[in-house]
Symmetry: C2
Subunit: 477 residues, 2 copies
């Protein structure tokens, strides 16, 4: 049946055009739709269900570290935004401004929040008096707006969903510890839940967040060899506290400025899942965030007993996120559809299987077919989901390892960027001039100064002066 | 210790000034704080945790009925909003308008969503072709903005959190069934989770939602005898489908307009919990939405073994949301604080209790003290939480019954509104003129035409013409 392949044929292959492949997957797997507002996306059920699974598992990790959730207003008065100079310079060019409430012009413009440091700082300024009020470890789940010119679903859009943590502490040490702690929560989450290895490190001065003393980042490598910044954690020192007057009386009875952090991850992670794990048949979902983990597909479903057996299997597997596809589409179509949606494995069951007291598990990631006795489906399903989760991480790790290069000389560096998409490890003198030159010459940017430093050479790959840091470089989304 | 009573003394009594009592509770129980944007509130951890418990339990009920979650953009282009006349007239006066993106003036103004019928309709118009695409039963959790002049925390604010369900169906019957189904989900949720009895009924033409064919509502009675509209469910018929061109090819191969519904509940429910259950010591939380269900308060905690025993109890009660207050505040202060926050019961345990192998459960709702053997704490705690949940509903039901009156004549009606705050059941001819007159004369509005109709008299309480419906009337928030 020619129709069976329709879903898959509609996808451009990765090799041919990776950007188009990405867009095709996003649309064909029904994750998003475009809206009538340019650059704003509609997140459809299949996409939002992934976000719900990310949110619930990440939120649980936050709460283990003492995070409490709150909700701050959507709007920031212009005067409040203007209090911190670097922040306003960073965000004003892409702010959306509310100027009218009903038919009345507002006395002061309101910015639709691009990020909420200002609101949290204002709140902390009013509500913190004593060391007894510290620390505050707050987070919110919300949407933010940045009026970007170029947009791509999940990766860069004018509105996106995220969480933003904002904490305030009595000491610089405590703020630094929280900044690093949350980066590690992010990295562990990406690896254990999204099956996505990341490089943990610090951003250079040039790449750090507006107003931050230090920005830490996790950087992931996509299938096409481009890097994706996947989560960041910022230490603000007492800079915002000085701009917003967040002072407290310490135990020694003196008035001190407080220390702050912020950290965020976004719906961009869904883009990362697609580009790390996907293939030419569509999505490949890690079991822990797969909205449907198992699809049962009855074969010759009109034959007596087949649909009943499929329903019985579903009941027995109800500890998992399981569905039966009992629509009147052909099995081939159903296989393609389950593959497009990245369902970790499907179970095929037909009259002959039932007669032989078995069914067939078909893995999405490897396409391996496994005959399973109907007596063992529960234990084998649990096992296979764990295996797939672990194997997907291993495969992604191997991809990162195979696409991470070292460059000792600038010639080598330029040749690698040009010919071998991936991460390049190379030494750096610490000067922004070299970062600028590298970007201009190659399009690669400094992704991070990894916590795990190595000494590739002793001199800067660009200028030849003594090196201070080993840096991961790469072209990025 | 004079200080022990500080929290409580700071609350105005309900009898003295109910509105001030409400504001005091909201602030002292640390549910919200005011922000620098007039009419927008900061929902603090204690308030947001209630919303999280409402959200997770309500969302689970939605999903049982086949609801899928999505996310629509925050903005509505003015031209899209203008397509449905009644809706635009209803919402334009309180719309917040974005006119600038960065430094560029937008070609078209964007409304910050006050509700998302327009966006869902536009989406459905583009994505529905055939009867096979129906029904769609979508919902989103988000914030909405309505530029209100008068605001009160949770009850009426310029931004609030809510869920909005938007469904589309092939037939009018199916849309009507979904509208009523969701109203019943809401009513059952209020009763079983929030311990809040509600009247289920239909709004009059005057009070229905802009653009709806029928609006159903649940109306709750607050402690002061005022009504609070607590959730609504709207049947739009095919009105929006005609305005937004949502057509599908039916099984008979003809093109038809689709039928739509929408339904919502908001953070206003937190206001309802406060005003239905609260007392002069603060909040009284129904166990199912209490962020902390049990507070363990050690007595003479410096004595050997007391804190250890408290920690041990906490571990044994870890199936519940339990905390130990081991701060250095006095027990009296801790009692007041646990009461202010509405924690369903506290456990007092001191050296003498430990010696006698017992502890004391103190109920928040009745203040009853119950001695419990340390051998039985798990089972007794589970039992008591269930008892409190059930008793709170019973108490609230009695309050509604005791404050629901019937009026046969207009004199009686006016006297009742004036002297006995509560619901008034009275007959109505169906004419808006009588609703208008009643409102002008008494301040009472029609709350709903209850599903459970009674015949109080045969004539309209206002004009004396033949009655068509029994209506619940009352002053309302």
């Amino acid at each position: 049946m020619a129709n069976d392949k329709k879903l898959v044929e509609a996808i451009t292959s990765m090799e041919e055009d990776f950007a188009q492949w990405y867009t095709d997957v996003v649309k064909k797997a029904e994750l998003i739709d475009y809206s009538s507002i340019k650059g704003c996306m509609i997140i459809k059920p299949a996409g939002y269900a992934i976000w719900e699974l990310i949110q619930s598992q990440l939120d649980a990790e936050f709460k283990k570290t003492g995070v409490e959730n709150v909700y701050m207003p959507l709007f920031i008065p212009e005067s409040l935004l203007n209090k911190e100079k670097e922040l306003v310079e960073g965000f004003a060019p892409e702010a959306a401004w509310v100027t009218y409430g009903g038919s009345e012009k507002l006395q002061e413009r309101l910015c639709v929040r691009p990020t909420s440091e200002t609101l949290f700082s204002d709140f902390y300024s009013n509500s913190i008096q004593s060391y007894r009020d510290l620390p505050k470890v707050y987070n919110q789940w919300c949407s933010v707006v940045r009026w970007e010119k170029e947009t791509r679903p999940f990766l860069r859009s004018r509105e996106f969903l995220w969480q933003e943590g904002h904490t305030v502490h009595a000491t610089a040490e405590e703020a630094e510890a929280r900044t690093e702690q949350m980066l590690n929560v992010y990295a562990d989450f990406c690896e254990s839940v999204l099956a996505m290895p990341v490089i943990r490190g610090r951003k250079t001065e040039k790449e750090k967040f507006a107003g931050a003393e230090a920005t830490y980042t996790i950087e992931a490598l996509m299938h096409d060899g481009k890097a994706l910044q996947s989560g960041t954690s910022h230490n603000f020192g007492d800079g915002f506290a000085k701009a917003y007057n967040i002072q407290f009386t310490d135990k020694d009875n003196t008035l001190k400025y407080a220390y702050q952090t912020s950290w965020g991850m976004t719906t961009r992670l869904i883009g990362a899942i697609i580009m790390v794990h996907g293939d030419d048949s569509g999505l490949v979902m890690p079991p822990k965030v797969a909205p449907t983990q198992i699809m049962i597909i009855p074969i010759q479903q009109k034959k007596e007993g087949v649909l009943e057996k499929a329903a019985e299997l579903k009941d027995r597997l109800s500890n998992f996120r399981v569905k039966v596809d009992d629509t009147d589409k052909s099995p081939g179509w159903k296989f393609s559809e389950a593959e497009m949606r990245g369902i970790p494995f499907r179970i095929e069951i037909g009259p002959k299987d039932i007669e032989a007291n078995k069914c067939v598990f078909v893995r999405r990631d490897t396409r391996e077919k496994i005959e399973v006795s109907l007596d063992d489906v529960e234990s084998k399903a649990a096992e296979l989901l764990e295996t797939i989760q672990a194997d997907m991480l291993e495969k992604a790790k191997k991809h990162v390892a195979a696409h991470t290069y070292s460059a000792a000389t600038y010639e080598e560096f330029k040749k690698t960027v040009e010919e071998k998409p991936g991460f390049i490890k190379a030494m750096w003198c610490g000067e922004q001039a070299c970062e600028d030159k590298i970007k201009e010459d190659t399009g690669a940017t400094s992704r991070c100064m990894p916590f795990a430093q190595e000494e590739i050479t002793t001199t800067c790959v660009c200028c030849g002066k003594p090196a201070k840091k080993m840096v991961y470089w790469g072209r990025a989304y």
